[in-house]
Structures are given as structure tokens and as C-alpha cells.
Symmetry: C5
Subunit: 291 residues, 5 copies
């Protein structure tokens, strides 16, 4: 199999099922369970150190909108780097281009660049989530309707996934910093620590977003409770104002010997009575501060 660059033994496999992976596994003595891991996706992010190579499973963002992750598997030996991934991994293309430009001539630096690129890919997604949450927060207090609720829960679900992935990635990068077998040069230490800082920040932000989102749900629920309360008040005030009028008109509609029936001012008295009852009720609610 032909490496990506003529002067560097980086083998990039875009189809985990291909025969080439088996050939490389035989050639570089890779463990069968890890080859299986490359083929049975998805795996959890992890890193495994052997005498002559490191194996890592990383998670890059495959679909930004749906927040879907996909595995990138790396085998880093003293004289080889193998990346296994599905066909459409923009991350690998970006690294290939950058490495060509920067004339990278070390395998461990290439390895670093791939990890860095993957973690950098989380940032735009975090920004998008932050925007979404701001938007939800603006909407939710003013107009708490079911679509907003559905949006809160869909975002929440994504954050649960993202949290799991980022937590796993943090452990992986932490192990890479503590590595001991000398496959990665010590001069790359600050760079891996830099990646580590990025992931810690990512995990922090995800936690913050989850807090904010659960706050948004609380706002939703309290806004709905508030609205129900408002609606009830309108109904109660209205019912309390109108029912006496219904009784008064009913009273004078009875086929009994009523007062005022013969007086031409009867109707005026009745209207006055109705006005007084209405005013009394309104004054009562005013005193209870319902307006």
C-alpha cells in the first residue's frame, strides 16, 4: 500500500473493511482486537499503549447540524502512522493539506496535527449550540409553546452525547500526555497540553450549556404556570363580574309579582343595581391587587 507522502510512512485507509488494513496489520504486527475495533464502529474514545506502537480511537464531528460523531483510529509506531476512517472525514484532508504546506517530516507531529484538528473541530459546534441556547432563552419566557420545548429537549439530547464524547476524548489526551514509551517527542508536550486545555474548556462549556438548558426548561415551566394563572384570573374576574348581572336580569324575568314592574323608572333602578354590583366586584379585585 502506498503512503500519503513519499517521504513519510503515513498510511490513510478510507474504508475500514478494506484488505489493506489486514496487510498493514500483518506488516506492523497490530493486535487483532484493535483491527476489530476499527471495523466495529462506534467505539468509545480510548488509547492503548504497546511496546512498539500506540493505538487511539478518536471522535471527530461528522455532521455538524445533527451533531453526529464518527471514529478516527490511529496507529502510531516508530516508523509508521496508520489512520483508519470512513470515506468522508474532512479532518484528514485538512491535515494532509497543512502537512504538505508546512513540510512536516515527523510522524509524531502528524499524529499531533490530526488530534489537534479533531479537537479544533468542536469549537464551531460549541458556538452554534451557544447561539441556539441564546435564541431559546429569548423565546421561552415570551412564548412558551411546544415547538420550543421540543427544541430544548433535542438540544439536551445532543449535549448528553457530546458530553460523553468530550469526556472520553479528555481521558485520551490525558493518557497521551502521560505516555511513557517515547513514540512521541517530548518537544510536543506543550502542544498536547494545549489540546488538553481545549478539551477541558469544551467539557466546561458543555456543562454550562446543560445548566443553561435546564434553566430554560425551568423558565418554560414557570412561564406556562404563569400563563395558566393569568388565564384563570381573566376567567374568574369575568365570571365574577357577569354572574350577578345574570341573576339580576333573571330576577326581573320571573313571572311573579315583582317590584318596580309597573314603575316607568323600574328599568333605571335595575340598571343602577347592575352598575353597582359590577363596580363592587371591580373594587373588590382592585383591593386584592388582581389588576
Amino acid at each position: 500500500m502506498v503512503p500519503v507522502f513519499s517521504h513519510l510512512a503515513w498510511f490513510d485507509i478510507a474504508d475500514p473493511e478494506s484488505q489493506e488494513l489486514d496487510q498493514l496489520a500483518r506488516r506492523f504486527k497490530l493486535h487483532e482486537l484493535q483491527i476489530e475495533d476499527c471495523r466495529h464502529r462506534p467505539q468509545r474514545p480510548k488509547t492503548e499503549e504497546h511496546d512498539h506502537y500506540i493505538f487511539t480511537v478518536l471522535k471527530h464531528i461528522h455532521d455538524r447540524d445533527e451533531l453526529e460523531f464518527d471514529d478516527i483510529d490511529l496507529f502510531l509506531g516508530r516508523d509508521f502512522l496508520i489512520s483508519v476512517r470512513c470515506a468522508d472525514a474532512a479532518v484528514i484532508e485538512t491535515v494532509r493539506a497543512r502537512a504538505g504546506q508546512e513540510k512536516v517530516d515527523r510522524l509524531d507531529r502528524l499524529f499531533y496535527m490530526i488530534v489537534d484538528e479533531i479537537v479544533d473541530g468542536y469549537q464551531p459546534v460549541l458556538d452554534k449550540i451557544a447561539d441556539d441556547i441564546s435564541e431559546i432563552e429569548d423565546v421561552v419566557l415570551d412564548k412558551p409553546d411546544p415547538p420550543t420545548l421540543a427544541r430544548i429537549f433535542s438540544l439536551r439530547r445532543k449535549l448528553i452525547d457530546f458530553r460523553r464524547v468530550a469526556g472520553g476524548m479528555r481521558e485520551v489526551v490525558d493518557s497521551l500526555i502521560r505516555r511513557e514509551n517515547g513514540l512521541v517527542g517530548d518537544d510536543l508536550d506543550p502542544y498536547f497540553r494545549d489540546i488538553y486545555d481545549h478539551i477541558i474548556r469544551t467539557v466546561d462549556l458543555i456543562e454550562t450549556y446543560r445548566d443553561l438548558l435546564s434553566g430554560a426548561l425551568d423558565i418554560y415551566l414557570s412561564a406556562v404556570a404563569n400563563r395558566t394563572n393569568e388565564v384563570m384570573k381573566v376567567l374568574t374576574i369575568w365570571g365574577t363580574v357577569t354572574l350577578p348581572l345574570v341573576i339580576i336580569t333573571g330576577f326581573f324575568g320571573m313571572n311573579l309579582h315583582l317590584p318596580w314592574t309597573d314603575s316607568p323608572y323600574g328599568i333605571d333602578y335595575a340598571v343602577a343595581l347592575m352598575a353597582i354590583s359590577t363596580i363592587a366586584v371591580l373594587v373588590y379585585f382592585k383591593m386584592r391587587r388582581w389588576f
Copy 2:
């Protein structure tokens, strides 16, 4: 007692109460408390190391639909492997068949195969739970009724159990990896780590499912609150529209000297009044954005 294979001292006991277990206990000097553990089910998953053997209690899924677990007890010595379990443990049958096919000739490998098979058995259950949750999430926002609620809580209960079992199994496999007495060959290390990865993933997923399920409950509650709000609005709007009409009709039903009673257009005036009051109320609600 006769071992499962002629060339390998694997003794499989399908009835924990049988005399054979006592015979084996005497022959291989097993601790009495552990024989008791085999008989008093259920136990927590655990592993105990002795000088000449390891004792482990494992949990396999006995009933997938109800998510019931059952104990499988293993004693692994240098020259014997004893499995104790209830009559219907498909896991043991599967391992027996696979071991026959693959011509396994080491007791520690057999031991590994049983643990692996048990943990593999969790996957289909996890998949089923994931499906159930997706289904619940689809239903709950649209139609929050008590049966859905009952389903959420039944699933929640199962997850609490599963979480406890998986947590215990994780500790067991972790101890097996850190074992020190040399009863299990070092070449099996990556294989046990592979099982460990599976369990970690299982525990992770259970946590995720619990999160999603508690999200589904929140959706349920907010959907019910929302519905109550909707229902209240309908009642309030309706009451507010109709009550003035009741008053107007009541007014002209009074047996007093009313205006318009002699005019042939009286009824038209009254209907106009009713139409105006209705429109006024509707305009009011429109302005408050209740539609």
C-alpha cells in the same frame, strides 16, 4: 463428576443445590462461604482471589424482556474451572459450542469466553431500551397519557437495576485485569481490557438512557401543563364571549318597562349589540395574542 470436555477439567453444575457441588468443593478445597454464595441467590457481582483459585459471581441476562438477571458463579483454579448456574443459562451452552468448535484447550481461555459471552449479552438489551426510549420520546410530546407515564417509570426501574448490575460487573472485570496470582495468562490481558471497554460503554449508555428518560418525564409534565393551559384558554375565551350575550338576552327578558320593546327594530338593535360585544371580546383576546 464428569467434566464438560474430556481433555479439560471444566465442571458445569446446572443445579446449585446438587451434591456434586459439595464433592467438588471438598476435592478442590473451595471455601464454604462461597459455596453458600452459590446457593443463596442473588449475590452482588464480585471476585475473590485465593492462593489456588479465583471465585467470581457474574450476572447474565436471564430474561431479556423483563430484564431479569441471574448469577453465574465461576471457580477458576490452576487445573479446574467450575461453573455454577441455574438450569436455563443460554450463555453456558453458547460457550460450550464455541469452545468445542474452536478447540479451546486452556481453562483461562474458557473462563474468558464465559465472561465475554455474558457481557456481550447486554448489547441487545441496550439496543431494545434505546428503541423503547425513542418510541416514548415520539409519543410523549404529542399525547401525554397515563400509560406512557407508566411505561416511563417501568423502564426507569429496569435501568436502576441494570445500572447496579453493570456497575458491579465493571468492578469485577477491573479486578480481573489487576489480578496477580497468575491463574490467567498475561496474553489474555488485551481481551479482558476489551471486555472492560464493553462494560464501560454499557454503564455510559445506561447513564445516558437515564438522562433521556428523565428528560422524557420532564416533557410529559410540561406537555400536560401546556394542555391544561390550552384547555383553560378555550374555556376562558368561550366564557368571556358568551356571558355578555347571556346578560343581554336576560336584560330584554326582564318584565320591566324596557326600551325598544315596542319598536319593530328592537330585535335588530339587540342582535347588533350582541355582535358588537362578541367582536369586542375577540379583538381584546387578539390584542393579548391568545390566538
Copy 3:
């Protein structure tokens, strides 16, 4: 003071205030603070190691129904065992009987038997709580009334207490396993580990029960919310169906020049109008899927 058995220096004190405790304290050089601990009940479960003896405070279940705990204090020296407890501790009686039957002739074994008996006493209580929760869960979805609520909270309160006791006992048994002063024979190690397993299981179950109970509370609240929603729907449908009829009857009750008053079919027209309005409202609710 006379020991329980003639051949074994086990002193059992059924009244912590008695002078005998002071005599024993002087004779075996027990620390004054621990004698105070015996007398100021309740204490937290704890274990304290001295050069020549171990002091432990244990919690046995004194009242199963109310889940009340009481202290049993043990002093284990090389040549003495002192148990201090209130008059009615069935645990001590049971151990006395068993030790007599089994002809126990070691103080550390007696010590173990008391701890074991105390922890075994938790099991029937756990079973009763499990039954209670099952019963509550059955009732709560169907008929969420205040007595059920009171029951949930009373059980919850008990579990909080039990959790605290069991957590303390776990630490005590853990310290006993890690003991270093040789007062307890090493051959008892598996037996103490067995007790430890029991307590871990107890703590696990208590946590599970708390989860289930908080689930039951959630069911309660959602069932009440659901009922309120149902009640509101009935009222709204009913009000929406009847109010138009009230208006129609009111309309034709007005003392104005009405249509149809002279026609003998007037009443039929009016009834038809009422039927149409009723059907229209019902169709509307059917379309909104309120039935």
C-alpha cells in the same frame, strides 16, 4: 461480675448506666470517653483501635415497623469481650443461644457472630420496604390521594435514616477488615468480608429504594397534574356545549319583537338550532382530539 459462659470472658451489660460497666472499665483499662459513648446514646457507628482492645459502636434494628435503631457497644480485648446494650436486644439473645449450641470457644468468633447477627437483621426490613414501595407504586398511578403521599414521605424519611446508619456500619466493617492489631484471627477474614458484602448490598438497595420512591413521587405529581387536566377538559367541554344553548333560550325569552314567535314551528326551529350548535361544538372537540 459474672461472664455469660463459664469458659469464656464475655460480659454482657443490659443497662449502660449500671455500676458493673465502671468496674469492667477499671479492670480492663477502658477509655473514659468510650464509657461515656456507651451511656450517651445514640452515637454514630464507629470503631476505635487501642493497643489492647478494639471499641466499636454498632446499630441494630430495635423496632422493625418504625425502623428505629439502637446502639450495641462492643469492647474486644485479647482476654475479654464486653457488650453494652439496652434491655431488649434480641440480637444478643440469639447470639448467646447460637454460641451455646455451636460451643464457640473463641472471643473473636463471638465478636464476629454479634456483628453478623446485627447486619443479618437488616434483611427483613429491606424486604418489607421493598414490599411497601411495590404497593405504593401500584396505588399511586391509579389513585393519587394525600394518604399515599404521606406514606411516601414517611418511608422516605425512614430511608434517609437507614442510609445514614448503613453507611456508618459499612465504614465500621471496612475498618474491622483492615484491622492490624491481631485481636481478631486472620481465619475470620473471609467471614468479615462476607458481612461487608451484605452491607454493601444493603446500601445499594437503600439507594435503589430512594430512587424508586422519588420516582413514585414523580408519578404522584404527574398523576395529579393529569387528573386536573382531565377535570378541566370535562368542565370546558361541558361549558362550551351548554353556553350556546343558554344564549339561544335567552334569545327567545326576550320581550322584544322576535322572529318565529307566531309560527307554530318556531319551537322546532329553535330546538334544531340548539341541536346544530351542540353538534358543531362536539365536532370541533373531536377534531382537536379531546376525546
Copy 4:
């Protein structure tokens, strides 16, 4: 400055701003930051070891009803003990009296007595809180009104403060037990462990009380939800019973050619109709188990 007892160098400063503190600081070489800590109150509980003295900030309960805490600062050197506190610290007076009676002649024992007295002072407050919670629990299910709610939240706020103080004190006593500079005699070890037990118990109880209080809030909310449900039911049953009667009376009030108007039994038919409709509605609710 004159010490409290003639034979013991205990200096008690009742006004942190006084010059005497500066004089003592110069004389015993106390660190300026700690003198500042004495003057800028409140500080967190803490302990700082120096070569020649220990500095601790402790929290005693200053106002039992409002649960207000105040700082007591102690400097313990080989040949001096300095206590700094505000004017009204009953704790110090109690220790002074007890030390005089018991003829205490060691500074480290005095130091112990002050710490012990402070921690003992928490007990009556814990008892009062327990009583308050019992009272709230009794009231809340039966009569959930806003004053009870306000009481729950005021108690909750106090517990949050108490938890923080007790947590800090636990750390302080823990450090005192692990002290290494020999300023406190080893024979006081069991006594400090006794204090430690008290604080652990205090922290435990505070956690329990917080749990109980959050339970009381849940009861409150569910009781209110229940009441709303009850109120709604009454309204709904009532509305459903009366509205048909309103329609029937309205029907026979129409100025159209009605049936039964000429029959002397018309009124009986109408009343029968009203009775039937009422019974039908009540039967319907009985069947739905609303009573």
C-alpha cells in the same frame, strides 16, 4: 496585658480592635496576616501551623434563634494561648469557669476545652431545627399556606449557612488531629477524635435535615396541586349539574309556542326533567369515581 489565670498564660481579648492584640502579636511573633484575620470578620474556619504556634479560626453560635455565627480566633504556642473574640461570647465565659473549677494547668487542655465547648454549642441548635422540621411536616400536608412556605425557605437558608460552617469546622478539627508540631499533647488525641465525631454527626444531621426540608417542600407543592385538583372537581361537578337546569328553565322561558304550556302538569314534567338530568350527571361522576 494580664492573663486570665495567674498560673497560666491565657490571654483573652474581647475586642479584636484593641491595642493589646498588637502588643501580644509583637511579643509572641504572630504573623501580621493572622492579626488581620482576627480583625476582618467573618473568616472561614481554618487552622494554620507555624514553627512555634498554631492559629485557628473557629465558629461559635452567637445567636441561636437567628443561627448567627461569630469567629473565635485562637493562637496556641508552647507557652501562651491567645483567644480573640467579640464582647459577648458565652463560650469563653463557660470555659473560664470550668477551667477554674477543674484547676486546669495545661494550655493545650484549655485549647481543647474551648474547641469542645464551641462544638457542643451546636447541639441545642440542631435539636431546635429538628423540632421546627417536625412541626413544619405536620402542618404542611394539612394546610399548605404561604407562611409555612416562607418558614421552609428561611430554615433552608439557615441550614445552608450551618452546613458551610460545620464543613469548615470538620476540616479544622481534622487538621488538629493530624497536627505534628507537638504543641498539643498526644494524650488529648482521643478527646479531639471525640470532638471530630461530634462534628461528623452534626454534618450528617444537617444533610438529613436538608433532605427532610426538601421533602417538606415537595409535600407542599403536591398538597397545593392536590387542592387545586379538589377545587376544580367541585367547580366542575357543580357546573355540570347546574348548567342543564339553566338550559331547561331557559327553554321554558322562551316566548315561542312551547309544549306543556297549557297543561297544568307542565311544571311537574319540567321539574321531573330537571331531576333526571341532575341524577344522570351524578351517576356519571360516580361511575368515573369522582366522589
Copy 5:
């Protein structure tokens, strides 16, 4: 570039993008990733030790009202101190003035003063938050309206941010205390511990405030639930009182052969009937303790 004081190599850069930072980086051999950190803001608080210098990212409060934080980056070497910050950092100005007055002549002391000033800057913000929460708590039980809700959530959001910053700062100061490379004199140890105490207190208070705020939200929700309950009661009592009167007046409005129509006392009987029904309903509610 010219240092801030003629006798001390403190370089203060008010524009992270400036060329001067690159010059200093070259001159003092600063790591390129850290220069990048200075320019890509915001970073998490952190500290990184090198052989010849320490690099720290600190967070000062840039806008008190909106609680916005900004980075201050410090490089402390044996013979240089570089601070990088945005143009308007009052903290730096304050330190410059104080250092001039106090004639500070050590770089590590300057370094300490900047960290101290930054952490001191948190106190007024904490006080303001405490005031805000007290105000909210006063308002929320009495008048739970949406603006109060919005205020709760806005404050909550700020506290989430503040918590993250303070947590990071705590780790930074903790690392500074554990530093080992001798760039900061040991005599500054108590001072850094003093800062540490301040931050711990800050983190504690933030947690307390979050607890109080979530309590305020609970009060809000329970107050709204309570109000809805009150409103419902008014409506129910009113409806229950008036509907019988509507039925009675309707009854006597029927055009049938009614009783009492010819009697001059008919109207008195009817009014008596109405009074009795009203009293009966009020007595019923009194008995159910609805007033």
C-alpha cells in the same frame, strides 16, 4: 521596550496584538503557544511552569454590572515580569500606584500584588449579588411576576460563569502555592495562602448563592401554584353561590303554570329560597375550611 519602573523589569503590555510582545517573547524565550494564548482570548485560568519562568492566565472582573471577565496574562521569570492585558484593566493601574507608593523592589512581590488585586476585585461583586438575591427573595413570595423570573435566571446565568472562573482561579492559586522552581520567595507563602482562602470563600459563596437562587425559583413556582389555587377557589365559590340563584330565577321565568305566580307573596318566597341556597353553599364551604 521600557519597563513600568526604572529599577524593576516589569513590562506591561496593554495591547496583546502589539509587536512589543513578540520582541519580549524573543528576548526572554517565551513559548509560542503562550504568546498565542495571550492573543486568543478568552482562555481558561491556568498556570504553566517552565525552567526559567512561570506563565499564568488570570481572570479579572472587567465589567461589574454585567459580570464580564477578561484575561490578564503574566510571565514571571527570575529577572522579568510581563503582564499582558486589554487597554482598560483598572487592576494593573491600582497595582502600579500601590507598588510606587510602597516602593516594591521585588518582581515576585509585584506578581503577588497583581494576583491579590484581581481576587480582591471579586468581593464587591459578591456583595452585589448577595443584595440582589435578598431583594429577589423579598419580592418573589409576595409578587411572583415574569420580570422577577427573568431576573432570577439572569443572575443564575452569571453565577454559572462566575463559578467556572472562580474554580479555575482556585486551581491556579493552588498550583502557585505548590510551585517548586523558586521563582517566588518562600516568605510569600502565607500571602498566597491568604489569597487561596479568599478564593475558597468566593467559591463557597457562589455555591451558597446558587442554592439560594434555586430556592427563590422554588418559591416562585410554589407562589404561582398557590395563587392559581386561590384564584380557582374564588371562581369556584362564586360559581357555586350564583348558579343556584340563576336556576331559581330561571325556574320562575318559565312560561308554564308555575306555583306562587298568583300569590302577592310569591316574590318573597322566591327571595327566601335564594337566600337559603346562598347560605347553604357558604356554610358548606365554611365546613370544608375554604375561607
